[in-house]
Amino acid sequence: MGTVKQVIGGLDAGFVTTKFTELLGWAQKYSLFQYPFVTACCGMEFMAVAGPRYDMSRFGAEAPRFSPRQADLLWVVGTISQRQAPALRRIYEQMAEPKWVLAFGTCASCGGFYDNYTTVPGIDKIIPVDVFVPGCPPRPEAVFDGLMLLQEKIQTGVKGPLVVPPKHLPRLAQLRQKGSTVDFGTEEIKRLEAERSPADMKLLEQKD
């Protein structure tokens, strides 16, 4: 029969354990059951993210569960007022482990420009947050950046909150950058190069 290897827990992090954790991470990140805690304007972008053009179901995160017991990803979409805070806290506490929180929008991340008596300045003052997606409201592409960051976080198990950075880099430079994590084919590069003016192309060529 051979030696019995501990698969779950224990100090023995062998091959089976790490592979199991990886498998678990893979399964969890591609099947997030969301609890959309939608309050304000970001809810409209949330609808667009769930809509047909920016399709959230590509990421496996489509199915909303309106009971916190059945959900594992809490999307806090929109401004949380002081009056709403106990409800948010209770919903977070009712969710079962493992659970993640995504702060959608600037108001959820830091209170936004509602710096007043009635807005909670960021939901991380109430519940621990995994990913912050700034924007007022964030573009659906930024939301997907946040979702993909969260998926990487679930897979790698890194601690601490992550923030979605702005995309400031011109598209072509992004693609041509060595080691770019954006993965497109040569067709896209050719198309973008055709749109560029000769002066810009010279600049990019110098870099190579």
Binding site: A48, P52, R53, G78, S81, A87, F113, D115
Partner: protein, 405 residues
């Protein structure tokens, strides 16, 4: 074996004791129309009494306005009725311009009209789509969101942002229309018509949809008027009141459009009224795009309120001084108070502004159409069942940002 029927006499009817149950439909609930708390007193499934508790999205709009300048109110105003932000922008700009007595060029007014009507279409799409989805019709929701993304593409092309544009300015707009504005707007209208027809075909003859919306959430005319309802809620009861027809502002008296009126005041009438209003909006947009001058400024010439061109700032003394004063001190609105009202997505959106002559607003009161419409929700729901809350609440189009401010 034959079934054995025995007629139950009166003495055999069971008198089961019942007591009303209090149920809380909490501030976080699936209807994606904002946060509201309803405390229901139920007798079985029927609603005996209903205590609506708004205020879960109170963000201190009116207090925040008193802290900045008049121009800094525009981002706050955008987030009031956040599904039709252009209408709020235009409403506030008109209010301040009424107080100042400032005229804007014709091209600006047409531009505001077109962007405002696009925003109104986006509002009605969201309301109807979400209401249909809550009743189980997921497909029309996705089709209508597709349409809404087309409209938002146009708005993004013009203003730079999909949702909260902050594009209005006191005395004009932030930028002139782009070159492809007319073509790209008209290009989507045929497809919008087609998608709307498809969505209606799925819903309007659907037995389930009709049973859940017809004769549910009825509101009488007298109640609606006494409650201060405006907009689609009021028009669905049969009252012909639309600010664009009754007190025409901007150039609405130059356009030929109809105002859809219902007759029962139920959810179905509101739903149909919204779809018809979308069609009328498209009609207005077509006429406005035809009449709009193709060249000309979209800001007023008055340098006390509008930033001058950058070339003037660098080349002329007046431009430099005007720019300096406006940036350092803000717009100085003369003292006074005025109430200006426009037709927002949900009804009469009014701004009551008080100025004390300095660059800071003294009081910006927004008269939210949702606030009074939501009050009427109680009348609509008493006597109906819990399941009727969903279509009724969805048809009111309560936008939390506008209701709670």
């Amino acid at each position: 074996m034959e079934p054995h029927y025995e007629a139950l006499g009166d003495e055999q009817t069971l008198d089961l004791p019942t007591e009303p149950m209090r149920l809380n439909m909490g501030p976080s609930h699936p209807a994606m129309h904002g946060t509201i708390r309803m405390v229901l007193d139920l007798d079985g499934e029927s609603i005996v009494d209903l205590d609506l508790q708004p205020g879960y999205l109170h963000r201190g709009f009116e207090k925040s306005c008193e802290r900045g300048t008049w121009s800094q109110v525009f981002p706050y105003v955008d987030r009031l009725n956040y599904v039709s932000p252009m209408l709020n922008n235009v409403g506030f700009a008109l209010a301040v311009e009424k107080l100042i007595g400032l005229e804007v060029p014709e091209r600006c007014t047409y531009y505001r009209t077109v962007l405002g009507e696009l925003a109104r279409m986006s509002d009605h799409i969201t309301c109807n789509g979400a209401a249909a989805m809550e009743l189980g019709a997921f497909t029309p929701f996705l089709w209508l969101i597709k349409v809404r993304d087309w409209i938002w593409d146009i708005l993004e092309q013009e203003t730079g942002a999909r949702l909260t544009h902050s594009f209005g300015r006191i005395g004009g707009m932030a930028a002139p229309p782009t070159d492809g504005f007319r073509e790209s707007t008209l290009a989507i209208f045929d497809e919008i018509d087609h998608v709307m027809m498809e969505s209606e075909a799925l819903l309007m003859k659907n037995r389930i949809f009709l049973d859940r919306t017809q004769q549910i959430g009825n509101l009488s005319q007298e109640d609606a008027i006494a409650m201060g309802c405006t907009g689609v809620i009021l028009r669905s009861t049969g009252v012909d009141y639309d600010v664009r027809k009754a007190n025409p502002y901007m150039f609405y008296d130059r356009f030929d459009f109809d105002v859809p009126i219902g007759h029962d005041g139920d959810n179905y009438d509101r739903f149909v009224c919204r779809f018809e209003e979308m069609r009328q909006s498209m009609r207005i947009i077509r006429q406005a795009l035809d009449q709009m001058p193709t060249s000309g400024s979209v800001v007023s010439e008055d340098l006390r309120y509008v930033l001058p061109n950058k070339s003037d700032v660098y080349d002329s003394i007046e431009g430099t001084i005007a720019h300096f004063k406006l940036v350092m001190e803000g717009i100085k609105v003369p003292p006074g108070e005025v109430y200006s009202f426009t037709e927002g997505g949900n009804g009469e959106l009014g701004f009551f502004i008080v100025s004390d002559g300095s660059g800071t607003p003294y009081r910006v009161r927004v008269r939210p159409p949702c606030w009074y419409n939501l009050q009427a929700c109680r009348d609509m729901l008493i006597g109906d069942m819990i399941a009727d809350i969903i279509p009724t609440f969805g048809s009111i189009n309560m936008i939390g940002g506008e209701c709670d401010r």
